[in-house]
């Protein structure tokens, strides 16, 4: 196994374990633990991004997800002072079971499809500047200019929406 492969496995296993800790009931019973596990998972995923030469995206991933989004989660969990769902037995309705099975089936189908399809791909040779701030910025303001600009409307509507829902009513 090459060094890159070892690094990949470490990162992958870390990311998957973190994600599992969020989702699986025995670990993720306390939402705060789930949130922290997710932070760890995101950091490992940022490591995978670095391995894929996406430096700037990796940094933004850490900044936005681990730094901002998950902080918000932790804040809300603390604000609501949520207790672990110890007493709550998970209800297994048919559609939940069905959806889990279909999710697993989809995962299996894709995984089997991948082995046929993706072997055709070989890593393209990339310039040294691939994925740095300048190149990503260039893409954003050239190729995705309007999409980039319009995302400001998206963010603004999210802010307004959050304020509308969660604020105290003016009397």
């Amino acid at each position: 196994m090459s060094a890159e492969m070892i690094v990949f496995w470490i990162l992958a296993i870390g990311a998957v374990l973190g994600a599992l800790a969020v989702v699986l009931p025995p670990f993720g019973r306390n939402p705060l633990h789930g949130a922290l596990a997710l932070v760890v998972s995101f950091i490992f995923m940022a490591g995978v991004y670095v391995q894929l030469s996406a430096f700037f995206v990796a940094v933004i991933q850490v900044l936005v997800y681990a730094g901002a989004v998950m902080t918000l989660f932790v804040f809300v969990i603390m604000l609501l002072n949520l207790t672990p769902e110890e007493l709550a037995q998970p209800k297994y309705s048919w559609y939940k079971v069905l959806s889990v099975f279909s999710a697993l089936a989809i995962g299996f189908i894709v995984a089997s499809g991948l082995t046929h399809v993706l072997v055709h791909f070989h890593a393209a040779s990339i310039p040294a500047t691939f994925g740095n701030a300048a190149s990503v910025g260039g893409v954003l303001v050239k190729k995705w200019l309007f999409v980039f600009e319009f995302s400001s409307i998206l963010l603004l509507s999210a802010i307004v929406g959050a304020v509308l829902i969660a604020r105290k009513r003016r009397s």
């Binding site: 189908i109 499809g113 399809v117």
Partner: protein
Amino acid sequence: MNDIVLLSPIWLSALTGLLVMLIDVLAARDQRPGYLGYVTATGMVVSGALALFLWRHGAALTSPFLKGVFSFGPYTLFFGLIVLMMAAASLIIAPDYLRQQDADQGEFYVLAAFSASGMLVFVAATDLVAVFLGLETMSLSIYAMTASNPRSAVGAEAGMKYFVLGGLASSFLLLGTAFLYGITGSTNIVDIGNYFMVNPPLGAAILPSFAMALVIIGLGFKIAAVPFHFWTPDVYQGAPTPVTVWMAGAVKAAGFAVFGRLLLTMFHANTFMHIAFNYKLVVLALALLTMTYGNLVGIVQTDVKRILAYSSIAHAGYILLGVYAVGTSGLLDSSVGFYLLTYAVATIASFGVVTLMGGSMNEDTSLDRFAGFGRRHPLLGLLLTISLLSLAGIPPFAGFAGKFYLFKDVLQSNVQYNLPVVIFALVNFPQITGLNSGVGCIKRPICCVIFTHLMLDVTLLRLRSNGLNSLHLKHFLQPLSSNLSGNLGP
């Protein structure tokens, strides 16, 4: 410069949101923000006027920035106009309702305007990333609008359900986009279609088919097609009724516009994809399932908003049938556009009446409360009956014409199984849903409503004229089809 002109409907509706936000902040504290609804509606109308202007004069405009990401052809503008019209109608209904619920807040209208601009992006996008962004802008605002009434527990619950399932759907759409990007190297739908037309699939066809299926699932959620519909009744019932109008009218129209565009562009007559993943059959299956389910389950409902929700599910099935039938030339010169228009007008009218009722009925919209409605409010009762009959597709009304031409199109097209499908759909006529609620309205009086709404009159007139026009549908469709034929791509 051209891009600013071309995007004018989009940025104008977004600007309306900003303007409304500013007015709301600067306005006197004790003033009810209801008038902002009219301001926003005006913004939508102006935006629609700009779209009409572009329709007339914008054909020659091109912009390098928008190339490949947006198309402002007649297809976009037609559906954009439908969307804006319905948005304006919902906004005119909203203020009175919200005031009665004591839930009128200026931000509601800001979100509505942003949502409308998101819908326009959604409709205009020819790139899956822009589709996703428009979808999310539209949906995020609607999630918030759904949960906007702080007193309403059902509103919060509806918002949660819509949010969770909507988020799930958009991540499916996104995963499909990602795989399509991986296979074809592009997120532009025309490029993707061309790629599949020219290139043999890499290895097995499973990955492209899977990606396409994910995209269909993601959009299927938004148009509430049947295996992905289960949020619809709950959310339609729990949301404030103006928001329900918004979802049943504008969102659905936008969803179908994008659904049609994506399917017909990305699968553009390519042989390989038909072997691996026959999207036509998938759409047919969705259509039949959706109309049957909507009609059957709708019968047993006792809440008017739920009935209308199931009715909208059933109608989604019919529209899907139209999508199934149209050829590669596009949705516009088919009867789908017209069907969508009649559906939209009738939906807005019927939900509008329910809105006026619901506000004063403390959000209890069960069927019993509508007993004797026609005696108490003859005009509203008549309007509700007409629109429900139109939704049901009973002959003198526009809905009948819509269905008639839809079935005619399906029969005349050369798709597989067209005859049995039409027979099935005819048997499946949603008259039961409509009649059930229609009869319920003409019973005995219990409570009263004060408002007769301007917009409802307009809608009524519109409905009537459409009903008359539908006798000469060709006159209505002729200018459309001659102007708009076959303009799907950029």
